[in-house]
């Protein structure tokens, strides 16, 4: 039987990871900035102050530069399951395809149609109408995220579907279980709020840069305040929801959790929280010093004092049992496929169907399952543990960055509310360096989630390795080179235009007695709100 080669599997994974992480450089800013635009425009419509319209248009310009690449890179993702993960697409398409299609129909159409009107329709729509459109863009992009994360939620915790031995795929049985999966819901909120944090940091940091340069002060001051307030709530939200997601993972994906916590062995409940450790995947233990808070980990993850969390070695033993249980199931499936009237075979498949995926893990080492050795079974069982070092550190670094942003946002919001921002030279100067932080945190979050899901493409059901298309290695090299080249050009152009647009700054406000082009920069400092308080 033809299966994808190891090289093709690894290159397919690399390509998916690269294109998805790249796509997610643009998504979070869209998710959050759309709401910040809506907030600014709301102030414009309710107060009628021109400066808020100028703000909306300026940040809207940056939004558009970012949006173009989000759309472009999302387009390739829609097809990448089919091009590179053919077996996956067949195996779960009946379930996984639905949220993707609904995303297009319900959310992406709305977002994309109205974004055109938002950018081009200023003079053709009434104020209220335009504001409504901006809100619809924000709603559309966030609904988009909802459906994509429902699809992703299915990969993390397959709910609402059963395996059909005749069609050899998972089929939808309960749509509500699919969309209200705890993983999907917690992840949607966590991810979209991460987008709000990203946009808030972006707006605050860019505004701070203007303030530092004493440029566009009126607009920057107001943008900073809106961004900072939005940011404080968002960072608190993202941390809280991150905790909820960890709680969900704890029950649905024990191997991911064990990797996130570097728990090689089962520890007495409540387990300690490791702040620092150096997990070695090779030696299967933490090498070097461990810094931990006693009891805190168990409480944080299980929200209880008594629940134990299984360690990696215990989980491997459980995997051995499941692999052994899956073997007769998969063998019976083949018999049933050759003769669909063989009801004995069907009964065996059904009895073992929860562990079919585990037997597929073993197929990688022993294509003929009847000849599998205990060593091969152990090897497959070891595969059920994700790369601990990478997951452990991605997760910790993400959290560290979240707390860094929390401090930054609280500081900025406080000074902004007191009208003291202009005096915070240090804070203003370091602000541009804060811009990459949320993006990095988002990417680390995805690394934690998706590396932690390995070796599964659908947790516990379908191994990643068998999900790939049966391409030749040369196809994969070709596509990887192509993507790298195109995406490199794109990011260079995007960053260049973004930086240029920021340096140029907003159009001068048309308000006040001074002419738009002849503003005396010093006059702006006379504004009482801008003077540092005593």
């Amino acid at each position: 039987m033809q299966v994808p080669s190891d090289l093709v599997v690894e290159l397919s994974r690399a390509q998916f990871a690269a294109t998805a992480l790249y796509h997610f450089l643009f998504v979070p800013l869209t998710l959050g900035l759309s709401f910040i635009l809506a907030a600014m425009e709301t102030v414009y419509v309710t107060t009628g102050k021109q400066i808020y319209k100028d703000m909306t248009r300026f940040w809207g310009k940056l939004f558009a530069i970012n949006f173009a690449l989000g759309v472009a890179t999302g387009l390739t993702m829609e097809f990448e399951f089919g091009t590179n993960w053919s077996f996956y697409s067949h195996y779960v398409g009946d379930v996984f395809g639905a949220p993707l299609a609904i995303e297009g129909l319900m959310a992406f159409f709305m977002e994309s149609t109205f974004v055109g009107l938002m950018l081009f329709g200023w003079d053709r729509l009434s104020k209220g109408m335009h504001l409504a459109i901006t809100f619809l863009v924000a709603l559309g992009s966030n609904l988009s995220a909802l459906w994509i994360l429902i699809a992703n939620g299915f990969m993390q915790d397959p709910k609402g579907a059963v395996f059909n031995p005749l069609t050899q795929r998972m089929e939808l049985t309960n749509f509500f279980n699919l969309i209200f999966s705890h993983d999907a819901q917690a992840k949607f909120v966590h991810t979209s709020i991460a987008g709000y944090v990203t946009a808030a940091v972006f707006v605050v940091a860019v505004s701070a840069w203007y303030l530092h340069k004493r440029r566009h002060v009126e607009m920057a001051r107001r943008s900073l305040r809106i961004g900072a307030l939005f940011g404080v709530f968002s960072v608190i939200g993202v941390i809280t929801l991150g905790d909820a997601l960890g709680f969900v993972d704890g029950s649905a994906q024990p191997t991911k959790l064990a990797a996130m916590e570097g728990m090689w062995t089962t520890e007495k409940a409540p387990a300690p929280l490791k702040l620092l450790a150096f997990p070695s995947d090779k030696q299967q233990r933490n090498v070097g010093p461990v810094v931990e808070i006693p009891k805190f980990g168990g409480i944080l993850i299980t929200h209880s004092l008594t629940k134990t969390l299984p360690g990696i070695k215990e989980l491997e033993q459980e995997a051995v049992v499941r692999i052994k249980n899956g073997i007769p199931g998969l063998l019976a499936l083949k018999r049933y496929q050759q003769n669909p009237t063989d009801l004995n075979a069907l009964a065996t498949v059904k009895a073992h169907q929860d562990d079919l995926g585990y037997a597929m893990l073993l197929m990688r080492y022993s294509p003929d399952l009847t000849k599998a050795t205990p060593a091969q079974i152990m090897q497959a069982a070891r595969d059920t543990i994700p790369p601990v070092w990478a997951v452990f550190w991605s997760f910790r670094l993400m959290i560290a960055l979240a707390f860094l942003m929390l401090i930054y946002m609280i500081a900025m919001a406080t000074y902004s509310l007191r009208g003291q921002c202009m005096a915070q030279n240090f804070l203003l100067r370091i602000s541009p360096w804060m811009i990459p932080v949320p993006f990095l945190a988002c990417e680390l979050g995805w690394l934690t989630a998706e590396l932690g899901r390995q070796p599964w493409s659908v947790y516990g059901r379908l191994p990643t390795w068998i999900s790939a298309s049966t391409h030749s290695g040369s196809y994969m090299v070709f596509s990887l080179i192509g993507f790298t080249l195109i995406y490199l050009i794109f990011i260079v152009v995007e960053m260049f235009l973004m930086v240029r647009a920021i340096r140029q700054g907003p159009d001068e406000p048309h308000s006040g007695s001074t002419s738009p082009h002849g503003v005396n920069p010093n006059a702006r400092f006379a504004h009482p709100a801008l003077l540092p308080k005593e």
Binding site: R57, T73, A98, T113, H471
Partner: protein
């Protein structure tokens, strides 16, 4: 009739409608992109052309993305088999397609002529190539793809990608490009003035005629090529290409079987001829809105003609005809189709309503002065 069979046919029709929407709406933008450098001689003229579709290309492009999603949801086996089998071609399509959004958004952000010129060429490639591949894919589908399935439904593609650029596929690709240019030219006539209007009018006539010529040659070709015929299939018992019922014959002229069984289907190609000829005539009388709608009908005729010939085949296999993917064996489960039908019934009317409204808001001629004074224009 069993509800599951009704749903399968319904989703075959919906897929057709989606393809038509894609061809009409995305095709129009692609047409503008293809003729951008000819219709717009100065930078300002090109900007006018880009701003005409500027507010709409993004929404239109969702037809393409939704196409991917809908095939995934309703025809997962096709999604899995077609896109992996056509790997190199799919990448060519996607890579050129993603140049477009970037081109639209970034072209006018810098004043340098070199920058803008580069993006104009990028937009040409990003418009011409996808339409060519779109048509060629349909052309290749008519000829069948070399693929089969292993016992566990792993699809294995055995052909080389070079073969996908065979003469018939190229012809189908050029037909699709011609229709796109017709539609793009009609849109430009709707909303541009002066020299651009005249040039678009010329192109509309030229490519309208070309489309009809290619459609005719293609038709004769199809009548003489090997087509697939399905006998004695049990539409309900077909649970996948491994458990197909009935037999598949591959015979010369096989694609005309449906037409001889049901002669009323000849109205579909006739619709194309009448609409496009009439479209050219009304465009010459400066009724370009009317010409646009007639062009859309022309597309419906073309894709309808292909669909009617192929039913119930969706993706014939040239190396294992019995495993060909059909309406009966390639769909998702009944439960999924029911849910998807529900979402479609609710949201398609809403989408069509706000899309029309968006075009209505942005109606009227795009003027050069407006663009030059607007900092946010493309």
């Amino acid at each position: 009739m069993e509800i599951y069979i009704v749903l399968k046919i319904l989703w075959w029709i919906l897929l057709g409608i989606l393809f038509m929407g894609l061809a009409i709406m995305v095709g129009m933008d692609m047409g503008v992109g293809t003729i951008l450098r000819y219709v717009g001689r100065t930078d300002t003229e090109r900007r006018v052309a880009l701003n005409i579709i500027g507010p709409h290309w993004d929404g239109n492009q969702v037809w393409f993305i939704l196409g991917g999603g809908a095939i995934f949801a309703a025809w997962p086996t096709i999604y899995a088999t077609a896109f992996s089998g056509l790997y190199v071609v799919m990448l060519l399509l996607l890579w050129t397609m993603i140049i477009r959004p970037v081109g639209f958004e970034y072209r006018s952000k810098m004043p340098s002529p070199g920058w803008r010129n580069t993006w104009d060429w990028a937009l040409f490639v990003g418009s011409f190539v996808p339409m060519l591949v779109f048509g060629a894919a349909i052309g290749n589908t008519l000829q069948g793809f070399p693929y089969h399935f292993e016992w566990n439904m792993t699809s294995v593609y055995t052909g080389s990608f070079i073969y996908l650029f065979n003469p018939f596929a190229i012809l189908a690709g050029l037909l699709s490009v011609s229709m796109a240019i017709y539609m793009g030219a009609a849109m430009l006539m709707n909303r541009a003035e002066g020299a651009m209007y005249t040039r678009s009018k010329k192109l509309l006539t030229l490519f309208g005629v070309l489309a009809l010529v290619l459609f005719t040659i293609g038709g004769i070709w199809v009548a003489n090529m090997k087509g697939y015929v399905l006998h004695n299939a049990d539409a309900l018992a077909d649970t996948g290409p491994l458990h197909h019922t009935g037999t598949v014959d591959v015979v010369k002229g096989g694609w005309l079987t449906n037409y001889s069984r049901l002669p009323v289907l000849w109205l579909l190609p006739l619709l194309t001829y009448i609409s496009v000829i009439l479209g050219i005539i009304v465009a010459r009388k400066d009724k370009s809105h009317f010409a646009w709608w007639l062009g859309a009908l022309g597309w419906i005729g073309i894709l309808g003609t292909v669909g009617a010939a192929m039913f119930p085949f969706m993706m014939p296999s040239s190396t294992n005809a019995a495993q060909s993917l059909t309406v009966w064996n390639a769909s998702s489960s009944e439960h999924t189709l029911i849910w998807m039908t529900g979402w479609t019934i609710v949201f398609v009317p809403i989408v069509l309503t706000y899309t029309s409204w968006a075009f209505w808001v942005m109606r009227g001629k795009v003027k050069a002065e407006e663009i030059e004074s607007d900092d946010h224009a493309y």
